[in-house]
Amino acid sequence: MKLAYYPGCSLEGSGIEYGMSMERTAEILGIELIELDDWNCCGATSGHSTDKLLSLALPARNLAIAEEIGLPMLAPCAACYSRHRATEHTVKHDEKMRETIAHVIDKDIKGTSETLSILDVLANHIGVDKIAEKVTKPLLGMKAVCYYGCLLVRPEEYTGFDDPEDPQTMDVVLKALGAEALDWAYKTECCGASLLTSRPEVGNTMLYEVLRNAREVGAECIVTACPLCGMNLDMRQGAAEKVGNTKFGLPVYYITELLALAAGESRQAVGIDRHFVEAGSYLDDVEKRAAEIKAELEAKAQAKEAAASVEKDIDPEARQKKVDAMIKAFEKNPDKMAKRLIDDEERAAVLLEIISGDSKKAVRLAELMVDNSEKASKAADAFVTAELKKRDK
């Protein structure tokens, strides 16, 4: 798979581990990323809060470059993704605005580009089966919540690859890596990242609520696909802890970091050492748990296999001897055998009549008693029921 690639400013700065792990992830899954030549900042929230035309023109310049490459464009940052999707939507549906934008960027823009989020690429274009194939170190025992934040799945008319209230794409990918993805209420709640410089008192409270809900459902870490959420949850977790006078200590991972780790990549290569909330020791815990769970599963599988092979390995001659002995017992003491098979005296008496008059049925029951006594009782019972029905008629 080949994709045009728009890393965005954050993946080279505050979200550097997202950028590093994105490249590793692409390599693991065989995605060739062709970085847009001389791309510019999308303007993000500041752009559309200030000047509508500018907020469309800045992403449009990138989209014009992507149109020349002629491939769908991966934008891992949720804010970049949102701005480029919004611009694409406008260019495709508003011809007059498309012309104005083309004039402002002094480039042709046709509306043929398609910006993709990493979650869309992973879950819908690559697929969880292919991802699961690459997993060599499954994250068994990891208890995580998937945090989508606001801009990956909203507004639905621009994004549309997942549900805006209860998205699943990150959850299915995480499960394919072996981790447990817990259900929670703050999947798409805003973390307030855009307010943290200008209105920290508001932003920190929003951030606190997200972290609090994650802890309430029993999450031991948070997984994200947005560098703004990532930085906010990680770097400013200490500030959010002060809001509720509590300690969270929840490590925050990018989905790409976990994918690369599960596929055997080193921690350093994906930037685990660059986190603010210490993120290595939880991975140690998960490794220990994974080893235990794996050992347990293997032991169970072995026990099952052993049981199966015992059944298979029974020497046919020895079995025949047992069956013969059982047939003799039926011939000698049919009344005792009938009582062994059926508790109810009346029904046992009927069975005695059946086996006395039909040696084939007696042989069948003798075989079953050797192989599986429970099945023998059931068969005997069925014989009696059929006989009684016949008599009723």
Binding site: D38, C41, T50, K52, A57, P155, E156, E189, L195, R199
Partner: protein, 184 residues
């Protein structure tokens, strides 16, 4: 108390804001779903539903002066959930832009946005250290978030010098043409 109708001027401005936002405030039947789901409503003077109500009543001035429009984090929850299809988030954007035009900003968020965009205009990329420094100087809080500076540098998350794109001239012209055509 004397009741007066909203003046024609205000109604014109509201129509322009609706056109800019691509939405119609009169669709709103005041159910309050936007305010209930808004993650920042706890800090607002007028929650989203009331902002819409002000506009329905022709009261554009209090809407433009509301703290709310600067507390809105543009997370789009309101627009996604509105049963009447009112694009409240887009309206908040339009209100912010109009307030900026009239010089009625909260100073903090607008200062951040200006710092952000001036870096983009200069370099073609965001320059996080530069934005923070500029924002802090403009808002008179030079040491805000300074505790994050060194740890970020240690982790390779912020560079001392900005990354510049090659065709910075193209970006400068995009800013100029957008401004000519009616932006800021």
């Amino acid at each position: 108390m004397k009741l007066i109708p909203a003046c024609a001027e205000d109604k014109d401005l509201i129509s322009r804001l609706e056109a800019d936002a691509g939405t119609n405030v009169n669709l709103c039947y005041q159910c309050g779903k936007c305010s209930a789901g808004c993650p920042a409503a706890f800090a607002m003077d007028y929650p989203p539903r009331q902002i819409i109500r002000l506009l329905q009543l022709g009261m554009v001035k209090p809407a433009l002066q509301a703290e709310s429009i600067w507390i809105c984090a543009t997370c789009e929850t309101c627009s996604t959930r509105c049963p009447r299809g009112v694009d409240i988030a887009s309206l908040m954007d339009a209100l912010r832009r109009e307030a900026l035009r009239q010089g009625q900003t909260d100073k903090k968020v607008a200062a951040f946005n200006q710092a952000f965009l001036s870096c983009v205009k200069l370099f073609g990329r965001t320059y996080e250290a530069g934005i923070l420094l500029q924002h802090n100087l403009k808002t008179g809080q030079p040491f805000k978030d300074a505790q994050y500076g060194l740890p970020m540098m240690k982790r390779g998350k912020v560079s001392v010098l900005p990354t510049r794109i090659n065709n910075r001239d193209e970006i400068k012209k995009i800013f100029e043409r957008a401004q000519e055509l009616g932006g800021e």
